[in-house]
Symmetry: C2
Subunit: 273 residues, 2 copies
């Protein structure tokens, strides 16, 4: 039997950081039914009181105190949350004193700064990166490969598009991708356009059984989705990577975030933001 | 004059969480030139020693201890990092004891769990959401609007595409978007296809001067990018939102993450993951 506990992620901004660290901590505890609620933009006394009320209500309903994962910066609103009786995990205050000591200066304690700095250039740059990924998706065009930071390649459904989009959104990287289609694979050679950009090239591979499963969801009972076809395509793609010394990663067991970060790690490619 | 300090984000996985919280904390301190290095996948003794060596080297070069923001789960590797002499901000260990007390159980202390759970359904679901956003971008088709969780609308370059992609990637939400083009705006009416889905509709607006700037980067000196045109389009779009009671948000001063989270906050739309 699992125990139900309500968990709140509270922030004066989006709550994305509180969610990320909180969820990571929660995965360390099994046997619980964690009911998760995100309270974003808690940036006024009224909203802080409303958030505290929700914590109080959930704790009563569960019969045990709710957990609060907070990146709330404003002391006043934090105090209101603590009065709710929830158990506070303060992702901000826990570190700020030690940071003040380490850096030998006081923190500005300014709410909402996390996205405030350099917003203009960051925003334009990321939009540019996203548009680049969209315009250079799936080999749609190859004429901007000079501008690309990286060019992903791999068979259909190996994870190229989501990885490019994540690289763009999270890191502002200019990521293009080029599909290895059957005609390419049958030549046993790297397509010529990719041969000219080998230093930017990174391959994706995938377990053929998993690929078969993914393709079947899209087009069941097709030759495209058949296990035989998936096995042949993956084998030939990996042969091409090996014979051309193209670095590659197996995407079968990892998340989109992990694929993207592995690529940064292995290539030494710098985050633009 | 700014003081240089090197900051390391260290993780046994991607380091994305360590970066998010660490960067947020750093924005509270001005007057420093923070040199940032992310060390991902520090999941062996050898890699931990190599990471510690980099911390030692940076501290010597700066003449002052580097900062380490860590979500490292394995005690042994954490200890190796601490021996480097860097100042450790431990985003994991700082909370895990209090969580064990609160939940009345021991943590599993298992590395790499954060992305391990339910990976298959999460991955497939997110890929589906990303493909949905791509296939239903910019009004390309409207026939899947029944399936959509949300339909964004707004003038060209108001932020629809990146917001839809972020909603898909981060939250697994099925987000379509439909552009308000000049022909639509001239009718002073909500396009008919959107009238049928008003409950799913969310508008984006933008400061006309900012829109003029964004459009000029793309097509300078065009009628499309002219301030006059931008002012007229934004005014008419907002008139349409008001007369049809379409909720909307001004995207001018906020990040993509914030636009997406504001939409969740205002609509009560549930995250799928």
């Amino acid at each position: 039997m699992t125990t139900r506990r309500t968990v709140f992620f509270v922030s004066d901004r989006t709550g994305i950081t509180a969610e990320a660290l909180g969820l990571s901590l929660l995965t360390q505890f099994t046997g619980f039914d964690f009911k998760k609620r995100t309270l974003s933009f808690i940036d006024s006394e009224e909203k802080a009181h409303s958030a505290a009320e929700q914590v109080r209500h959930a704790s009563e309903k569960d019969g045990v105190a709710a957990l609060i994962f907070s990146t709330q910066i404003t002391d006043e609103y934090r105090d209101i949350l603590i009065e709710s009786g929830g158990v506070m995990f303060d992702f901000f205050e826990s570190f700020i004193s030690k940071m003040e000591q380490t850096l030998g200066t006081e923190s500005s304690h300014a709410a909402g700064r996390s996205h405030g700095i350099d917003r203009d250039s960051n925003y334009s740059g990321r939009i540019h990166s996203i548009n680049f990924a969209l315009n250079n998706d799936d080999g749609a065009t190859t004429k901007y490969y000079e501008e690309a930071d990286i060019i992903l390649t791999g068979v259909s459904r190996s994870g190229k598009t989501p990885t490019c989009l994540f690289l763009a959104l999270q890191y502002g990287i200019l990521a293009a991708n080029y599909p290895l289609i059957e005609e390419d694979l049958n030549t046993h050679k790297l397509p010529e356009i990719l041969r000219n950009h080998k230093e930017k090239l990174f391959g994706l591979s995938i377990n053929p059984v998993r690929l078969h499963k993914i393709r079947s969801e899209r087009r069941g009972n097709s030759r495209y989705a058949s296990l035989d076809q998936c096995q042949r395509e993956v084998r030939r793609a990996e042969e091409i990577y090996h014979s051309n010394k193209v670095r590659f990663v197996d995407t079968s067991q990892v998340s989109i975030e992990e694929i993207a970060t592995i690529i940064l790690d292995k290539t030494g490619l710098k985050r633009r933001y």
